[in-house]
Symmetry: C2
């Protein structure tokens, strides 16, 4: 493979450089002139559109309507909820001029939209009949991150969906928070084939102004955890700050409960990291823009027949509903094409040369493990379906095993530090709930509590099953433990 | 109808207030705290999503790929193409601070993205094999309009698609420009049921830096024209400013030709204005979020049976693929429901009371003309299809007749002025091509040349058919005429 086309480092040896090369060479994103911003190229955009379609259909089926709220939020609105100001002020991009006129009040480019959706809800909601109110928008947001920006994983502008709901009771808001987290899990586990851990963020790390924040964490092969989506029970802070009230069945005025929840283009970063290998991307068939690539291999004297036979196979698969690329480019060798489609992570490659033509077969090669087999022409459709299903499953299974192996228990501060020092993944420990105990660890290693799992055995991540009481002492201070906490290095 | 729910002015008497009330009361949009920005409410968003889906499938079928480019453009990039600077500088929103730090270079919130897509194209294009390059993004843009902002029609932030392409030859760029204009016409005429006129913008009114700009104009009932989409042949200006070049088949370095084309949420403004009546919206079935509303009318003693019968009808229509609302709300009277769904422009209403139930019929009421008829239960599906098709056609036909009646020829400046003064619509006249002649008219009435039609009889708007040579003199200066020009008041 030419140096230009292929990935020149091993994923395991230099994950950071590997990531940068895959993003660039697989055609996912480019750097933009403003530092920390990215251009999402068509191949990357198809991944986002697929995630969007998947999640959007889930929320539409469960009562959410899409709307669009302004990019611009007046500073005075951001200031109405004091936690929001403190939480986001340091990373707001400020518009100060419109044309050549200085604005009377500076305007924030939205870092998130609670501050502008809350007053809208206040206007819209009059009666209990207006509840629940469930809105979502697919939009761009801006957070002026100072350092360590990387395409998809951490960018100053990113695309996301942000859902915002209002409810009559605390219980309904709790349910909503969990329902959306559950839907994130469906997308990430079933569509992206990445196992996950669900739980709370520690109190001091929750969304500014929220009652509590839930997170879906996924473990990357470099041993770090990625927060792949968050769902917040906002309590009544925003409702009180922005007067979101309703008249209940008895005519009494009540204050609403809110939630908000977001999933961003960061998930594409997780997808790349989670499944990629030394040859580039490996895409789960469910999300792959092209699931099958058909590559004809011919000489001058049999070009026409081979092309015709191979195109027939491709058409057959298209008719069956597969997303198929027929790569008939004449100026590229088969070897070049194999490398390119491996780089782009296409799950299944069908090689078709004169031998296959004569035997009425195709050679099917799996991207995930490189296995190849002869498939008879008549069973290409069924076999492709079977192979693609198998690839989706085994990509998930591979990571599930990896996750299982990389949750390690530690019973003391030293043990936590030692385990983080020598192993990848999560260190689970009993924790008293105090930030100071987490700080003690953070002061010594670049790891923090990334999730308080709903259950101890949250590996086959699920929000089903009640949360467990735990007994014992905090591994750090020795006081009574409140719950299990997972320490990890993170993105 | 209660004052709060219904429209309180006649469309014909006060179109501006009528428009504002429809936008608000039909639940399409709300005002946002930053002047000139809008909140697109779910019902309005469904219209945009439908337009998006319709146009997106057309461009995907014709080789365009979606991507996403940054919201932020450094000032120095905007300055690289001098026409763009001059054209957009006065309406750029400027970001000057990130967090509490002042930026070294101020950053434009994109008013359009040529300046950031051109350098990307320069990086991506190496060989003739990389051409044509066709990209599109669905995005928000900001133009700091000073005055006269109105939801959808003119807002400081709006949603749009912007297509950007690069080609090897001028001819291909010409064809691309016309193809996209043609696709706009399909969306606007077939999906939105609005007849249109296609043509060029006058030289002095073209997109900054373009070789020429084409437009699709639609005539509103208040007699003003709305530019509903534009497609630009950009020539080689951007390619030269940003070095977009390629190596041709002979290994020679050549400069590309570019196009760009955009369709925005303004089309929703045109849709509202074009079809609405004194009772509110009238939506063409093709775009209507709900095509049929089923309203059960019952007393206490027959509620259960009527509801069951009516729900059966609604389910039947849903199964048939119609978008159906079953309005079983108990706290609203049938009259209230009729008014509300008329306001929201649902094309077909099925009223179902005890009589209909006994006779095994439904009463079908058309929103466009108020006609009602009894339909037998067994033919509800076929008849609904027939009625909806009829509504789509007659909404179009109504406006087609109106457009035809409101193109008037004028042979002198005085005649132009008099015609504009006393009539709605377009005044067509022979024109020499000089801006000064247009200025003479503009100085006296609030009208300008909105389109130079491809053909004189551009009423049944089409870009097929060659452009006609004309003979005669400019109606204003008497010099040799270059082509037909349409004067109109516009949005």
């Amino acid at each position: 493979m030419s140096q230009e086309l292929g990935i020149t480092v091993k994923k395991d040896q230099d994950p950071s450089e590997w990531y940068t090369q895959v993003v660039k060479k697989a055609g996912l994103a480019s750097y933009a002139p403003v530092k920390g911003c990215m251009i999402i190229k068509p191949y990357g955009m198809k991944l986002w559109e697929s995630i969007k379609e998947e999640f959007n259909s889930k929320i539409e089926e469960t009562g959410v309507e899409n709307a669009y709220f302004p990019l611009f939020i007046p500073e005075s609105y951001l200031e109405k909820e004091e936690d929001i100001v403190e939480g986001f002020d340091p990373e707001v991009a400020w518009v100060t001029h419109g044309g050549d006129k200085e604005l009377e009040e500076r305007i924030a480019v939205r870092p998130t939209s609670e501050s502008i959706i809350a007053p809208y809800m206040s206007d819209e909601i009059r009666s209990h009949r207006d509840l629940p109110l469930r809105l979502n928008q697919w939009a761009n947001v801006v957070r002026w991150e100072a350092t360590d920006t990387r395409p998809f994983l951490r960018t100053r502008e990113f695309l996301w969906q942000e859902g915002h709901t209002a409810h009559a009771t605390e219980e309904e808001a709790d349910e909503e928070t969990m329902l959306r987290l559950d839907q994130y899990q469906e997308v990430i586990e079933e569509h992206l084939a990445i196992p996950s851990i669900l739980g709370y963020k520690p109190e001091h790390d929750k969304f500014p102004g929220a009652k509590y924040t839930t997170t879906i964490e996924t473990l990357m092969p470099d041993g770090r955890s990625i927060q792949s989506g968050t769902s917040h029970q906002l309590g009544q802070n925003f409702a009180e700050a922005f007067d979101i009230t309703f008249e209940d069945e008895n005519g009494d005025k009540k204050t609403c409960w809110n939630t908000s929840w977001g999933l961003s283009t960061r998930t594409i970063g997780a997808l790349i990291m989670a499944h990629g290998d030394d040859d580039g991307l490996r895409l789960p068939p469910s999300i792959a823009p092209k699931q099958v690539v058909v590559v004809p291999i011919y000489q001058e004297d049999n070009q026409e027949e081979v092309m015709e036979y191979a195109e027939g196979v491709a058409e057959d698969l298209k008719d069956e509903g597969f997303r198929v690329e027929f790569d008939g480019r004449e100026h590229r060798t088969p070897g070049y094409k194999f490398n390119e489609w491996e780089l782009k992570g296409v799950p299944l490659r069908l090689e078709i040369g004169p031998n296959e033509m004569e035997d009425r077969t195709v050679t099917a090669v799996r991207r995930d493990n490189g296995d190849s087999e002869e498939v008879h022409r008549d069973s290409v459709r069924d076999k492709s379906r079977e192979l693609l299903d198998g690839i989706q499953d085994s990509l998930y299974k591979e990571l599930e095993d990896y996750l299982e192996e990389n949750i390690r228990e530690a019973g003391s501060k030293n043990e936590i530090l030692a385990t983080i020092g020598k192993s990848r993944g999560y260190v689970k420990t009993k924790w008293c709930g105090k930030e100071s105990c987490e700080e003690e660890v953070k002061d010594e290693v670049a790891a923090e509590i990334v999730v308080l799992p709903f259950r101890e055995d949250s590996k086959p991540a699920t929000i089903q099953g009640s949360e467990e009481e735990i007994e014992g002492e905090c591994a750090i201070c020795g006081e009574e433990a409140e719950r299990w906490a997972y320490f990890a290095k993170n993105y």
